[in-house]
């Protein structure tokens, strides 16, 4: 370990220079005894030991929120332009609308897996930072914590399918990702919220709830009849269908029996 360390140092000339003044007590904590030949290198870089750097208040960079201020916002336009490129990338070589949605879903999936970790580790309540083990807490986590983190508001509704007990429905009246998107006529069945569906799938999978797939469907037009009037109230209303695998439901049953 100690022999590989100087090599890593030399291979990373652009490593940020350490600030020995700011962290003098820490350096002694984790400074491994270095071989004699590398002592000069070490003395010049005292705070760059292997592993995590722990600042004096015991808070690593991972504990800090990426957005420093509470109301920190990202540029919606920046996201919109990035999303344009993501869709253009997914469209390249996509066979049909289903394939395109699958590609968007795949782009979202790793984000979901990572976000699960990030959001759990960041939660202020230590009891809440346990991975959800039942379906309902998991869905609540998605509808509340995940949604607040991504879009600044909770999801609009959560329902269990009446026909299929393995299927849950998460409603979003106005998906943020679709704000600026008008679909061309030949792709009217596409819903670009498939990207968000991918994130949800990633969270479910990461939490140990494998799914048959999460898909996004537009339901804005179907609401028309209920409203009575011509224009639907939420033309962009989207439902995320979450269909868990059989084993998840079996486990859920066992847990319910054990708990009850």
């Amino acid at each position: 370990m100690s022999t590989t360390f100087p090599i890593r140092q030399s291979s990373l000339p652009s490593h940020p220079p350490p600030r020995p003044q700011s962290l003098p007590p820490q350096s002694s904590h984790y400074n491994r005894p270095a071989p004699a030949g590398t002592s000069t290198a070490m003395s010049s870089t005292p705070s760059s030991g292997p592993g995590l750097r722990y600042p004096s208040n015991k808070k690593t960079i991972y504990d800090r929120n990426l957005n420093r201020s509470k109301n920190a916002e990202l540029s919606r336009a920046a996201f919109a332009y990035l999303f344009i490129e993501m869709i253009a990338y997914a469209q390249r070589g996509a066979r049909d609308v289903g394939d395109l949605e699958q590609r968007l879903n795949n782009q979202g999936y790793p984000i979901g897996v990572r976000l699960l970790d990030l959001l759990l580790s960041r939660s202020s309540n230590p009891l809440a930072s346990i991975r959800p083990t039942r379906i309902l807490p998991l869905l609540q986590f998605i509808a509340q914590t995940l949604y607040r983190h991504l879009f600044g508001r909770p999801a609009d509704a959560l329902e269990r399918s009446g026909t299929d007990s393995a299927q849950y429905m998460l409603f979003d009246n106005e998906p943020m990702v679709n704000t600026y998107i008008s679909l061309p006529r030949e792709m009217s069945s596409l819903n670009c919220a498939a990207f968000v569906a991918g994130i949800i799938e990633g969270v479910c999978d990461g939490a140990g709830f494998p799914t048959e797939g999460v898909s996004a469907h537009s339901v804005g037009e179907q609401e028309e009849g209920k409203d009575g009037k011509g224009a639907p109230l939420w033309p962009g209303k989207t439902v995320f269908l979450i269909k868990f695998k059989k084993e998840v439901l079996e486990r859920e049953e066992i847990l319910a029996r054990g708990g009850g």
């Binding site: 999303f83 600026y180 998107i181 008008s182 061309p184």
Partner: protein, 155 residues
């Protein structure tokens, strides 16, 4: 308060959007409209060329400013408002060369703010739409809807 129509002309002179909000202007075939947009594009360029020399400045400070070579601020703007006895046409050219033509009643107030709002709708729902190709005809449902809501609220 009546807004008759909105045309958008691409920087190459092609008509990429036309929308009638209120009847009152002649109905034209799409072919005629395309020709009209093209010829307006040319006329707009001529109005730029016709710019008369700036009047002799009265104070020496502005003379110095006029002498300073500045290719951007000195560029003539081209046609901005066209008035006829039936309507008034406001032409707004973006920095990228796209032209917005808004046809209103002759006495319509606040056209500048309307134009700004339309430009905003355009940059949101057209330019941020992943399925829009620049310089191509605009077919964006949300842009249409935004314009509808805006013009209806106004009118």
């Amino acid at each position: 308060m009546v807004v008759f129509a909105l045309f958008i002309i691409s920087k190459a002179g092609g008509l990429i959007y036309n929308r009638e909000f209120h009847t009152g202007m002649n109905k034209l075939s799409s072919n005629d409209l395309l020709m009209l947009a093209g010829s307006f594009h040319g006329m707009h360029a001529i109005t730029k060329q016709l710019c008369p020399a700036p009047p002799t400045p009265t104070n020496p400070a502005s003379t110095a400013a006029a002498l300073a070579p500045s290719p951007f601020s000195n560029r003539p703007s081209g046609l901005e408002v066209l008035e006829s006895s039936h309507f008034r046409m406001q032409c707004f050219q973006t920095l990228t060369g796209t032209k917005f033509l808004l046809f209103t009643e002759p006495q319509q107030p606040n056209i500048d703010s309307m134009m700004r709002k339309i430009y905003e709708l355009y940059s949101d729902f057209v330019m941020k739409n992943p399925f829009y190709t620049v310089e191509m005809p605009i077919r964006c449902e949300k842009f249409d809807r935004g314009l509808d809501g805006f013009v209806k609220v106004r009118g």
